[in-house]
């Protein structure tokens, strides 16, 4: 059943937590709610769950207005950041509790099935207090699945776990939810891309974009959207299009008309714009058609198999460049880096800074209303 939110807003004591939220969740899909801490993700989840009432707006399920229904009357399950289980019940009893409340007969078989799905079948007779963090969270997930709710909500469920455990559980999570509609809140863009599905970008209480994850990645609706779904942060700089050339940082020129120019840049009218380019589209070695820029090293961040070099360029603009492999750079080292103009994103220079052109083929971009 389709869940939709119409003009939902929430204001508490004069502070706007959510505003003008219009969303339709396709049944059976995985939706990732991505935004910074305090953007309104938890508030939105709680409104969907029925734990909070919106200040204005309507929540509908299959067309029926459920705004005034409490969470007990809705078909939702919620998994929290803090591993919440009934501390005095064994794992078996924890998972069984929603089944027993429903009055399901023969629930033991289902409990075993669910325990196997989350790989805790050997721990069924232990108390949650005796389990590790990852194991406790799996119990919480199994209990949420046991409820068989139409909507499963997860509020940053892996954030209190070890880095590696997070990676492992994420892989497992993807396979678990079957036909329920899942809404998964996170602050980590890498997690949003890893989980896939549809991404809902939330920033300061508003929905910036609601589209498949890769659409948001390749065609972010605005500079803010690009910044929210970026890990590492996207390189943003201003430039002017004039006479068939993009001028940036004073004296650098990127030709855009002619056989070599990026096709999406060719259609730009003259004037100022805001440009964005991802770290992975920049490199430290020269490459064909890449534009060279000078900068000073601030930090080289090593992430397993890649190095991200944080640079400070002309006009104090920050750039981040990705290098495959592990490298160390000295602070304040002077470097030349190369960016790929074919991968530039073009945004309006001011106001909402919405997307003007992307290197990615046009698809369905959902504009914020």
């Amino acid at each position: 059943m389709t869940l939709s939110l119409e003009q939902v807003g929430k204001t508490i004591a004069g502070e706007v937590h959510l505003a003008d939220v219009n969303l339709t969740l396709v049944p059976g899909t995985l939706n990732v709610l991505l935004g910074h801490t305090g953007a309104g993700k938890t508030t939105l989840l709680r409104i969907i769950a029925g734990l909070e009432r919106p200040t204005h707006g309507t929540v509908r399920q299959a067309g029926v207005d459920i705004t005034k229904r409490t969470s007990r009357q809705r078909s939702v399950a919620l998994v929290y950041q803090q591993f919440i289980n009934y501390p005095s019940l064994t794992v078996r009893e924890n998972i069984a509790s929603p089944l027993r409340l429903r009055g399901a007969a023969n629930y033991q078989a289902r409990v075993l099935e669910l325990a196997k799905m989350v790989r805790i079948e050997e721990l069924l007779d232990r108390l949650p207090g005796a389990l590790s963090g990852g194991q406790q969270q799996r119990v919480a997930i199994a209990r949420a699945l046991a409820k068989g709710a139409e909507i499963v909500l997860l509020d940053e469920p892996l954030v209190n776990l070890d880095y590696k455990l997070r990676e492992d559980l994420r892989d497992e999570l993807r396979a678990l939810f079957g036909s329920s509609t899942v809404v998964y809140a996170t602050t980590d863009p890498a997690e949003a891309l890893a989980l896939g599905g549809t991404t809902i970008l939330v920033h300061q209480g508003r929905v910036l974009q609601h589209a498949p994850a890769l659409d948001v990645y390749h065609r972010p609706a605005s500079v803010t959207a690009a910044r929210v779904l970026s890990d590492p942060p996207m390189n943003i700089f201003t430039g002017v299009v004039r006479d068939g050339v993009v001028e940036i940082a004073g004296d650098l020129r990127i030709p855009i008309r002619g056989a070599d120019g990026g096709a999406h840049l060719a259609a730009l009218a003259d004037g100022p714009y805001c440009f964005g380019v991802r770290a992975s589209d920049c490199r430290l070695e020269p490459a064909p058609r890449h534009v060279a820029m000078q900068a000073r090293v601030e930090l080289s961040e090593i992430s397993g198999s890649e190095t991200f070099v944080y640079l400070r360029g002309a006009d104090d603009v920050q750039f981040i460049v990705q290098q495959d492999g592990v490298y160390h750079h000295q602070l304040d080292e002077q470097l030349t880096f190369y960016l790929d103009p074919d991968r530039l994103l073009v945004f309006e220079p001011d106001g909402d800074q919405r997307l003007v052109a992307s290197y990615h083929a046009p698809g369905n971009v959902v504009w914020p209303k």
Binding site: L51, E52, R53, T70, R72, Q73
Partner: protein, 288 residues
Amino acid sequence: MIDKTRSNKAWLFVLPMTMLVAFSAIVPLMTVVNYSVQDIFGPNTKVYVGFEWFRKALRDSELHAAFLRQLLFSFSTLAIELPFGLAVSLVMPRKGWAVSAALVVLALPLLIPWNVVGTIWQIFGRTDIGMGGAALVKLGLNYNYTADRVDAWLTVLVMDVWHWTPLVALLCYSGLRAIPNAYYQAASIDGASGWSVFRYIQLPKLKNVLVIAVLLRFMDSFMIYTEPFVVTGGGPGNSTTFLSQFLTRFAVGQFDLGPAAAFSLIYFVFILFFCYVFYTVMNRVGQG
């Protein structure tokens, strides 16, 4: 905020309690309000006098004296119990079996019925059969709480400190336990002395708990009745007659219900006021 599911059945559970409270509290309260505006000569003879009793009460010098006595008492107990309770909580053990032992010992005075507390100290302070009284006399001190005003005050104060300091100590102890160990470690690394640790870490982090302790103790001591009544009966003279006892003596002793009702309403308003302050501060403390 969370909306609870509305269920009409729930009212049935509340009904017996509501009736009981109505019977034992609300109806009598309304009766008091009724009496406070009447002059009662007998069960069937009542004359409406409006706010006469209230005016009289607020001008009554004996009431003023009792009120001041009460304030002095409350502030004195606070001034002693707070630092003392805090000090006790600082030296209480944090780990092992000694924790349970200390908590039990500390809780004992709080578990004793209040009139028994009074009786204990009444006998303890007697110079003939009481250990305390006899010891003081043996030491050469001229101690007699039935005759000497200062001695009576001191006895009642010491009794209250003995009775209620454990509450302050327990509150402070729970507050201290809530301080993460990292703060003590950081202070040790910074070379802080014990006094610095107290002043810069423990005291600031106990702020909320201390506010609650102050308000709780102030409210309770303002209503104190049983213990001083049992020990000194309010004497010698009026020296230990605090507000609630003054009121009771007036209402029950002299059976002049009109003025007594007025007094008790004034008293009720005081307590209501303090409750309001307590509630507001608690809320702000909870958010802070």
